[in-house]
């Protein structure tokens, strides 16, 4: 998106106010409204779709496969397909790396272990049907919903197969399938890690910048959040693609601490909103 100098200057000045005035009249910590649907793909273990009001849309499926744990380098694999981008483009590879890296380091992989030799491997496949702003937080929130609603069939064979070589067998009844949540101990909850994007403009940080806002940002921050805390990786990035953004510059370190504080303060609300979405989702099969 290319903005005229007048538009850019107007947008920059209003966003640099204190408090910032955003073009869609959101406050600095407000997400764009979204609608979601979960568990709509009968052929997958878990699935979710999120649609933002600007038409951005992401569909994720989680499929589990039984593998020999010793032969796999990791038990989670992600793949991202973005309409209009080549699979080997930098844009797609970067997003794929962000998501894979976050999940590999912050996912309770021990619950995927089935027996001493076999484990579930999760394949996360993501389709971005359309997007306008940088799609990482969209993808990550969708993956949260998909993982949270993933159901794995119940193991009925013996867990200890050290001596006897046998393939694990599962209960035929899909009603017996368990959510990853069900494997956890009392008091623990399964909340997959998420990313949020922050825009840096003047002294302000704005959560979930829209495309227009991305055009005038001085920098972009990506913050990851897991188990009620902001965690690493925290990275900065130019969120705008194909733009004439000349404002981009270095990042003041105090803004990083401010960003972490902002994440710690508001991410729990995002997580609980997503959990409410799952609870309220009706069981209707189709997505449209």
């Amino acid at each position: 998106m290319i903005l005229s100098p007048a538009e850019r200057s107007y947008l920059y000045d209003s966003l640099a106010q204190s408090p910032p005035i955003r073009p869609d009249s959101r406050s600095d910590h407000q997400f764009r409204p979204l609608e979601a649907k979960t568990a709509f793909l009968p052929g997958s273990n878990g699935s979710a779709r999120i649609r933002l009001m600007d038409g951005s849309e992401c569909i994720i499926s989680v499929k589990a496969k039984v593998v020999l744990a010793s032969q796999e380098s990791s038990l989670i694999e992600c793949d991202i397909d973005i309409a209009g981008f080549r699979d080997d483009s930098n844009f797609v590879s970067n997003l794929k790396f962000y998501l894979t890296n976050l999940l590999l380091h912050n996912f309770p992989v021990r619950y995927l272990k089935l027996t001493s030799r076999y484990a579930f491997k999760l394949f996360l496949d993501c389709i971005v049907v359309s997007h306008s702003s940088y799609p990482l937080s969209l993808i990550s929130l969708t993956s949260y919903l998909a993982l949270k609603t993933t159901r794995l069939p119940l193991l009925v064979s013996d867990v200890n197969d050290e001596e006897i070589a046998e393939q694990p067998t599962f209960s035929d009844d899909w009603d017996n399938a368990k959510y990853i949540d069900d494997y956890l101990k009392e008091g623990e909850t399964f909340e997959p890690p998420i990313f949020i994007t922050l825009g840096v403009i003047g002294p302000n940080l704005i959560i979930d910048p829209s495309t227009e806002e991305e055009q005038v940002l001085e920098n972009g921050l990506i913050i990851s959040f897991y188990n009620n805390n902001v965690i690493t990786p925290i990275s900065n990035i130019n969120l705008a693609t194909n733009s004439n953004n000349s404002n981009f510059k270095g990042l003041n370190r105090t803004l990083i601490t401010k960003g972490i504080a902002l994440g710690n303060k508001y991410c729990p609300a995002i997580i609980s909103a997503l959990n409410t979405l799952i609870e309220q989702d009706d069981e209707e099969g189709t997505i449209f």
Binding site: L41, G43, S56, D81, A83, F123, D125, I127, S130, F288
Partner: protein
């Protein structure tokens, strides 16, 4: 496994001349596209999003006589029971994409939109037989939703042959085991704009298979037409109030 029982029932309980559950919606992505549709043909599910007619990004895509159609077909990795990583440059994918482009190049009144590009993105979420047919139907609806002029509906359907009996609208299991004919019919005519047969069938049986496939396509056309009218009525009632 018995694909067609002596009592005349198929593996999913249908008779020989019954189509699967057909659900379609248009205008599913009003905020992100010029036209969009979603189709479920049994368990085959396809999303179609149309952008355009618009100015092409590349000079080479601008044709001074007619619009250029660009189809991007992406089949999701999770669309089959066994997950499989698919590449867009696979020969089969390129062939399907080219087939769709060429079919619609004739059915769309391309001469009305010179120097423009119409981009069509197809996402196959789940496949259970009849993928090409579902893609064709989804494209027809999305192009109608985008307000692109077409001569008539292109409605597609598959049919196969089990021993002597022609079977309509094959599902994935049947498609693996029998030869399948995919056709695309223009409106209510008997004109075929798309034809694809990949396995052997006896020449003398072609007529019966073709006849039932055409009848099925006409049914699909009616179902699509009623969805378009339903959506049109909603819009016009909004305009009136």
């Amino acid at each position: 496994m018995e694909l067609y029982s002596p009592e005349g029932l198929r593996i999913d309980g249908r008779r020989w001349n019954e189509i699967r559950n057909f659900e379609c919606r248009i205008n599913t992505h009003p905020n992100s596209s010029d036209g969009s549709s979603y189709i479920e043909q049994g368990n085959t599910k396809v999303i179609c999003v149309v952008q355009g007619p618009m100015e092409p990004a590349l000079r080479s895509q601008a044709n001074s006589n007619e619009a250029t159609l660009e189809v991007n077909l992406s089949v999701a990795n999770f669309s089959t029971t066994e997950r499989k990583k698919r590449s867009k440059s696979e020969k089969r994918m390129v062939q399907l994409k080219t087939t769709l482009e060429r079919t619609f190049q004739q059915s769309v009144m391309c001469n009305l939109y010179p120097r423009t590009l119409i981009r069509i993105d197809l996402h196959v979420l789940s496949q259970d037989g009849g993928m090409l047919a579902a893609c064709t139907n989804a494209m027809t609806l999305a192009l109608i939703d985008a307000g692109v002029s077409m001569y008539d509906y292109v409605a597609a359907m598959t049919a196969g042959l089990h021993d002597q009996t022609p079977l309509l609208d094959m599902n994935g299991l049947e498609e693996n085991d029998m030869s399948t004919l995919t056709i695309g019919v223009i409106g209510k005519s008997e004109k075929l704009s798309l034809l694809m047969l990949e396995d052997k069938i006896p020449l003398d049986r072609l007529e019966s298979v073709l006849a039932i496939a055409i009848a099925g396509s006409h049914k699909i056309r009616d179902l699509m037409d009623s969805e378009v009218r339903r959506h049109g009525n909603i819009r016009s009632s909004k305009l009136a109030s």
